[in-house]
Amino acid sequence: MIVLRDVAKRFGDHQALDGVSVTVPSHTTHVLLGGSGSGKSTLLRLVLGLMDADAGEVTVDGVPVTAATRGEIQRRIGYVVQEGALYPHLSTRDNVALPARARGWPAAAIDARVGELARIVDFRRPLLDRYPAELSGGQRQRVSLMRALVLDPPVLLLDEPLGALDPITRTELQGELVRMFRELHKTVLLVTHDVREAFVFGATITLLEAGRVVQQGTFGDLARRPATPLVTEFLKAQAPPPAMAEYF
C-alpha cells in the first residue's frame, strides 16, 4: 500500500505539490492524471525517496520514506520512465540483470530470472543480446519493465511508460500491462496525461492540476460527478470530436 498524506513540495517560487493526499491499496492500480506541470512526476520521486517532501508523510507498505529507509523502500519498488532509461553501454540482458547483480545474486539465478521475465513480458530471447540502440521503442519499454520486475517488487511506479510510443504499439502494450498487473498482483501507481490510458488502467484516478488534487475517484465518478468544471474540460479535451465518432 502507498499512502501520501498532506504532502507539499516547493522548488524555489514554484509550489510543485500542495497538500496532496493519495492512497493506493495493495494489489490495485491507481492513475495520477494531469497535464504537464501538474506535479505528478514529482509525486513519484517523493515515493522513491529521490527527494524529500517539505511537509506531509509518505509511506510504502507502512514504512515511512526517509533518508534512513530509502534503500529498503527502493528495494520494494520497480520503476519505469517514459524513455525507458536503459543503459546504452549494457546489452538488454545486462540491463535487466543490473538490479539483481547489484544485490549479489549468483549468475545462474540471474539467468533463470531473465529467461522467466522474457516469457512474462513476451520479449523475444535473441533480442536479449542486443543493445538498447538496436531496439524499437516498444521493445525498449518491455526491457525497462523486465528490469523493474527482476527483483519481483510488490510495488511498481510508472511515469508515462507508454508516452513515447506510436499509437498501435501503445494500445497493444496497454492491454498487456493491464493483464500483467492483475496476474502479478502488483500495487501500481501510474502517471499519465492521457485520458484514455487513465480509463484503461485506472481502478481509481487522481486528477492533479498545478500541484493540487482536483478530484479522486473512478473514471465514472470523474465523468458523471465532476468536482469542478475543470474536470469535465480535461476529460473532454481528449475525446474524439463527435463527427469523428461516426466513423467507428
Partner: protein
C-alpha cells in the same frame, strides 16, 4: 603484506641501480646554456675531463638561460659550466660593483663555488660597422662615432633597454643617430653587408667577425663591463678531482682569445660543423679533419633514435601519472561540487603558467633532467583530463543517474558500472587532448636538461639553423599524429560497444 614485499623489492632494485652507478666511478656533470659559444665551451670542458681519465662525463647542454643553469650548479645538479664574469656579477650576485676577478672569486667561494682562470676572451657587447664605412669615415673607436648623426643603427632587442646597453652607451659617449631600429642579432650582419644599416650590435666573439668585412669599434672610454669567459665549478669538483681540474686550467685557461673563439663559433654557425668536432679539432684530438656541413646533420640523425625514446618516455610517463591523478580528481570534483570548483580553478591556473616558467619552478624542487620535466608535463596534462572527467560525469542524463540509485547501485558500483562507462567517451577525449598537447610541450623539457626532441630544437635555435630545428620539430609533429591515431584505436577498445552503435531501424 604484499605491498610491503613490493616496497622491499623496489628498494632493493634502487640500491642495485645506485650501486651500479657508483661502481662506474666519479662523474663530472657538465652544463651549458643554449647558444653556440656555450655549447662549444662545454664540449671543450667535457673532452678535457674525459681525456684526464679520472671521471666519466655527463653532458647536460642547452639549458635555458643563466637562471636555470646556475640554479642547477648551486643545487648540486651540475659540477661545472662556462660563464662570464659580467653575468656572474650582474645576474648571479646582482651587484654590478663586483668587478675584479678576485672579488668575484671571494663572493662565489662563500657559495661553495670555484671560478677558474679566464679562458682568454671577452664576450661583450660591441658596436660594429662595415669595413667600407670604417674606412670612409675613419672610424676606429666608439668615440669616433660622435657627430655622425646621419648613420642608421640596428640594435638587438636586449641592447636597447639594458642600462649597460644603448641608454648608458649614448650618455657615456654622447652619441646620437638619425634612425635606431630593433633587429634580431642573426639578421643584423646581413643588413650590414647589404648596406641597409651602418652600425649594428655585435658580440665580440661572433663567428661573423672572423669571416666578414666588419670592423669592431674599440671601447676606448671603457663603457662596456667585462664579460670574460671563465669556468664556474663546484668546489667539490676541484677538491675531489684535482688532476681533472688542473687539466682544465692547463688546456683551456688563457688559450682562447677573441679571434680564436670567433673562429670556433664560425666553424659551427657558418660551416655547419658539430660542437664535438670543433672542440676536438681545437684540442688536437681529431687531427683537425674538417667535414663541412654534412657532419652536424649526420650527428643529428645518429641521435634521433635515443631522442625519440626519451621523448616517448617523457610523454608516456607524465601522461600515465596525469591520468592516474586526473581521473580521480575529476571524480572528486563531480562528487563535491564546491570543492570541484576550487579544484578546477587550481588546475586552470597551472595551465596559465607559461610552460618554460613552470619548468624553471621545478628546478629548486627537483633539480634538472627528466624528473622535473616529468613533474611539469604531468601538471600541464592535468587540466584536460580533470576537466573532461568532471564534465563527463556531471552531464550524464539525470534519469540514468536516478535509475542507478533506484536499482540499488551505490558508491563504487554506481561509478564503475554506470557512470564511468557512460562518461568514457568524454574522459578519453580529455586524455587524447592531453596526450597530443604533451607531445608538443615535452619539446620544452630540453631547456632543463630533460632530453627528447626539444634537444634538437634548442640546439637549432642556438645555431639559427632551420634544419636542426626541423629535425626536432618534424618528428615531434609525427609523434603527435601517431599518438592521435593510437587513441582513435583505443577508443574502440575502451568505449563500450553499446555507446558506439548508432540507433538503426529495428527489424
Amino acid at each position: 603484506m604484499r605491498r610491503v614485499r613490493l616496497v622491499v623489492v623496489l628498494a632493493a632494485g634502487l640500491l642495485l641501480v645506485a650501486a651500479a652507478a657508483a661502481a662506474q666511478g666519479p662523474v663530472v656533470r657538465v652544463g651549458s646554456k643554449s647558444f653556440t659559444e656555450s655549447y662549444i665551451l662545454a664540449e671543450l670542458i667535457a673532452q678535457v675531463v674525459e681525456q684526464a681519465g679520472e671521471a666519466r662525463v655527463e653532458r647536460k647542454f642547452g639549458l635555458g638561460g643563466t637562471g636555470i643553469v646556475y640554479t642547477a650548479l648551486a643545487g648540486g645538479e651540475l659540477d661545472v659550466y662556462p660563464e662570464y664574469t659580467g653575468t656572474i656579477a650582474r645576474a648571479i650576485l646582482k651587484d654590478a660593483g663586483v668587478t675584479t676577478l678576485a672579488a668575484i672569486r671571494a663572493r662565489m667561494a662563500e657559495r661553495g663555488l670555484a671560478v677558474g682562470e679566464p679562458l682568454g676572451f671577452d664576450n661583450a657587447y660591441a658596436l660594429a660597422v662595415s669595413r667600407r664605412t670604417a674606412a670612409r669615415l675613419g672610424l676606429r673607436a666608439l668615440s669616433d662615432l660622435r657627430g655622425h648623426r646621419e648613420l642608421t643603427a640596428a640594435f638587438d632587442p636586449g641592447f636597447l633597454d639594458r642600462d649597460d646597453g644603448w641608454p648608458g652607451l649614448r650618455r657615456h659617449y654622447g652619441l646620437d643617430f638619425r634612425d635606431v631600429r630593433i633587429m634580431e642579432h642573426a639578421l643584423a650582419y646581413r643588413a650590414l653587408a647589404s648596406g641597409r644599416v651602418d652600425v649594428i650590435t655585435a658580440f665580440t666573439t661572433d663567428g661573423q667577425l672572423a669571416r666578414e668585412a666588419v670592423t669592431v669599434l674599440a671601447d676606448d672610454r671603457q663603457f662596456f663591463p667585462d664579460y670574460a669567459a671563465v669556468l664556474l665549478a663546484r668546489r667539490a669538483l676541484v677538491e675531489r678531482l684535482p688532476r681533472t681540474w688542473a687539466a682544465l686550467e692547463r688546456r683551456l685557461a688563457g688559450r682562447l682569445d677573441n679571434a680564436t673563439m670567433a673562429h670556433l663559433n664560425a666553424e659551427v654557425d657558418l660551416d655547419g660543423r658539430s660542437f664535438a668536432a670543433v672542440a676536438a679539432s681545437f684540442l688536437g684530438a681529431a687531427g683537425g679533419a674538417r667535414a663541412g656541413g654534412g657532419e652536424r646533420r649526420a650527428a643529428l640523425l645518429h641521435e634521433l633514435p635515443a631522442l625519440t625514446l626519451q621523448h616517448l618516455v617523457l610523454v608516456g610517463v607524465s601522461l600515465a601519472v596525469a591520468v592516474a591523478l586526473g581521473v580521480p580528481l575529476g571524480i572528486l570534483a563531480a562528487r563535491r561540487r564546491r570543492l570541484g570548483q576550487v579544484e578546477l580553478m587550481g588546475v586552470g591556473v597551472l595551465q596559465t603558467i607559461p610552460a618554460l616558467a613552470l619548468l624553471s619552478f621545478m628546478i629548486p624542487l627537483f633539480g634538472i633532467g627528466p624528473v622535473p620535466a616529468l613533474v611539469a608535463l604531468c601538471l600541464y596534462a592535468l587540466l584536460p583530463i580533470v576537466r573532461n572527467t568532471y564534465a563527463g560525469l556531471v552531464s550524464l542524463d539525470p534519469q540514468l543517474v536516478d535509475m542507478a540509485a533506484v536499482i540499488g547501485l551505490d558508491g563504487w558500483k554506481r561509478l564503475g558500472w554506470v557512470e564511468l562507462p557512460l562518461a568514457s567517451v568524454t574522459i578519453l577525449a580529455g586524455i587524447k587532448t592531453a596526450a597530443v598537447l604533451t607531445v608538443g610541450t615535452a619539446t620544452l623539457a630540453a631547456f632543463i636538461g630533460g632530453g627528447g626532441y626539444g634537444t634538437l630544437i634548442v640546439t637549432g635555435l642556438a645555431l639559427n639553423d632551420a634544419t636542426t630545428i626541423l629535425a626536432g620539430a618534424v618528428p615531434a609533429a609525427l609523434m603527435a599524429l601517431v599518438v592521435h591515431a593510437l587513441f582513435e584505436a583505443l577508443d574502440r577498445l575502451a568505449v563500450p560497444r553499446g555507446l558506439r552503435i548508432r540507433a538503426r531501424p529495428p527489424r
